[in-house]
């Protein structure tokens, strides 16, 4: 397995520690900020010595923000709920549509199938505003503006191509003969898809779903343009802390901590599942 020398191992350890520090530092700093008041945050030079306070979290949970200029009503919990609704349903719809489509693209090559798949992917290349501004007008007309359904629909631009392309790769990695072996024993096409292809691509579907969830969760522009305050997710909601009397760093930090918590938890949970799925053994025949 590992025949590295002692020195090599030490150097490798240092390198990994440096990387972890580099990537974890912002998160660590945000976490610290979320327990401080604006005054201690803006101190110069910055210091790690402060009396921790839960006031930021309290403000978020109660929805009342006391600033120098007076009290401000914010609806952060509503934003959090919106984030959950939008992300969960977007991913669910994208999985429902994308997984069968990915299977079709992987198994049935027909003239133009590659082009269609690529067109779907190319939605991801376009700047979101390009799509969103005209859509905003249409949505006004057909009454989809500022509805969950309208937003979930637009979120498919983020989720669907991602799921389609990742899951297609996993389906392509499954030897078609494994499916044929099942079909020839008298099972229908659909039973084969459900009982053979889906379980084998399970880890890939989970990974794609997780990624899509994170992308949907982090989306900003679509909801900013197409939703009003009561439909907006946390990413947009955090803007409320940029108030007339200054930026509320403490509350923003607390909001960020609360908003990355679900994705982080999901990632940790799914990681264990992914490793499990992948170690089931080679899929190729």
């Amino acid at each position: 397995m590992d025949h590295a020398s002692r020195l090599e191992r030490i150097l490798r350890g240092i390198a990994i520690a440096a990387m972890v520090l580099f990537f974890m530092f912002p998160i660590f700093w945000i976490l610290l900020m979320s327990f401080q008041t604006n005054e201690t945050i803006l101190r110069n030079p910055p210091s790690m010595a402060f009396a921790p306070t839960l006031s930021n979290y309290a403000a978020l949970l109660t929805g009342r923000l006391d600033t120098a200029a007076g009290t401000l009503d914010i609806d952060f919990m509503q934003n959090l709920k919106n984030s959950v609704i939008l992300s969960v349903f977007s991913v669910a719809v994208a999985l429902l549509l994308g997984v069968p489509a990915a299977y079709a693209f992987a198994r049935h090559k027909f003239r133009g199938s590659e082009d269609i798949a690529f067109t779907l992917l190319s939605f991801r290349f376009a700047p979101p505003l390009l799509v969103v501004l005209p859509l905003a007008l249409y949505f006004q007309d057909i009454g989809l503006a500022d509805t969950y359904i309208g937003l979930i629909w637009v979120y498919q631009l983020i989720c669907l191509p991602l799921i389609l392309w990742i899951v297609r790769g996993y389906f392509e990695d499954i030897s078609p003969d494994v499916e044929y072996a099942y079909r020839i024993a008298g099972h229908s096409w659909f039973a084969t898809f459900r009982r053979i292809a889906l379980p084998l691509a399970g880890p890939g579907i989970a990974a794609a779903g997780l990624l899509a969830f994170i992308f949907a969760w982090n989306n900003f522009v679509f909801a900013l343009v197409l939703g009003s305050a009561d439909k907006q997710p946390v990413t947009v909601g955090a803007l409320a802390f940029v108030t007339a009397s200054g930026i509320q760093y403490g509350q923003i930090a607390a909001a960020v901590v609360l908003s990355i918590a679900p994705t982080l938890a999901l990632a940790i949970y799914a990681q264990r599942y992914l490793v499990e799925g992948l170690s089931l053994g080679a899929v190729k025949g």
Binding site: A181, Y182, G186
Partner: protein, 379 residues
């Protein structure tokens, strides 16, 4: 009229037909297989054997032609509705299931009772010597074990037709010989019909009632093992079937004064009485200017110089295999192989006399490769 169980009619398979390099994997395949028969598909790698099986099973569409099974057109049906079982060249076991479950899932759709399924899995595992790995997963067993598991999954069913694609390629000769006997018994006892792809002629001879020889996507000959050896339809089958391969020499025929003289390209001449060949055969040989003579190694008589015949060859190797001698000798500008069933005393460097009896001579048209005669009788 009683139609054969399986009828392939002018079946073509072209891969990537619209591309710059379409692959014509199977061309104009006509084949009839009767119920209860075991047929072996034999041919060099890439000749279209797997493609043929996959079209019958329904994993590849036929480009042209039709396939009928039990009088029913099946080439447009879904694989599930064709009543065919198959063992795959690449095994294709389902990784999340154990060997037992893999074998049993072939029976799921038959809605059998649990005990019945268990009984049949045990029976087939016993047959294939895989009882001790039934609870293991495909990723943790050897290639040969995977192959037998995959074969078990095909044999456990009582399908109208069993397609076995190189089912024993990974096994050692002893086990192969053992399983060969058992599989044949299993298939014959239940009156099953099977098409088997193999690269092993011994296996084809032992298992199959008839052998189909393919080359370049074209069926060359479809006959019993004995007929393939005794009367190869063309030069390809002649040289492909038989171990060691048939010796072949380009030649020209000349007649006159009651003799038929066959002049080999490198000088030697074979001289036979005219009536060793049927009149029609003689006429054809004289008419085709160029012919190819074929003699099986077992049919070459070897003797000390001056005895066996007027032909001379220089021995380059002599190998005693314990039950037969393989002699290689320079002859007519090429290498001649002779097999003797005793321990021949000739040494490398010696000159020997050789002879071919007219009865053992296969004659082919050099241009088309088609057989003209076998042992003097018209092909």
């Amino acid at each position: 009229m009683n139609e054969p169980l399986l009828v392939l009619e002018r079946v073509d398979k072209v891969y990537d037909p619209d591309s710059a390099h379409p692959v014509r994997a199977v061309q104009g395949l006509d084949m009839r297989v009767h119920a209860g028969e075991i047929v072996a598909l034999l041919g060099s790698s890439g000749c279209g054997k797997t493609s043929t099986l996959r079209m019958i099973a329904g994993f590849e569409e036929v480009t042209a032609g039709s396939i009928r099974l039990k009088g029913r057109e099946i080439h447009r049906l879904a694989p599930a509705r064709r009543g065919v079982a198959m063992a795959f060249e690449g095994y294709s076991l389902y990784p999340p299931l154990t060997v037992r479950e893999n074998i049993a899932f072939a029976l799921k759709s038959a809605r059998l009772k649990r005990e019945e399924v268990d009984r049949r899995v045990r029976e087939i595992a016993h047959l294939l010597e895989i009882e001790d790995i039934l609870e293991r997963y495909p990723s943790s067993i050897s290639g040969g074990q995977q192959q037998r598991a995959s074969l078990g999954r095909a044999l456990i069913r009582h399908a109208d037709l069993h397609l076995l694609d190189e089912p024993m390629g990974q096994l050692e000769p002893q086990l192969r010989a053992l399983l060969r006997g058992r599989i044949k018994h299993h298939v014959k006892e239940r009156g099953l019909t099977a098409i088997l792809v193999t690269h092993d002629q011994t296996e084809a001879n032992a298992l199959a009632d008839r052998i189909a020889v393919m080359e370049g996507g074209v069926l060359q000959q479809f006959a019993t093992p004995a007929a393939l050896k005794e009367a190869p339809a063309n030069l390809f089958t002649g040289t492909f079937i038989g171990e060691p391969p048939m010796n072949v020499f380009a030649a020209e025929a000349r007649g006159g004064s009651g003799r038929l003289r066959l002049r080999l390209d490198h000088g030697s001449e074979l001289d036979y009485p005219e009536d060793a060949f049927e009149a029609g055969v003689r006429a054809r040989m004289l008419e085709c200017r160029r012919i190819v003579l074929g003699v099986r190694p077992h049919a070459v008589s070897v003797a000390a110089e001056g005895h066996a015949g007027p032909l001379r060859a220089r021995v380059t190797a002599n190998q005693w295999l314990g039950d037969q001698t393989h002699i290689a000798a320079e002859f007519a500008g090429g290498l001649l192989v002779a097999v003797e069933h005793h321990r021949a005393a000739v040494r490398p460097g010696e000159t020997i006399g050789i002879a071919f009896a007219a009865d053992d001579l296969h004659v082919f048209d050099a241009e088309s490769g088609a057989a003209l005669s076998h042992g003097g009788r018209a092909a």
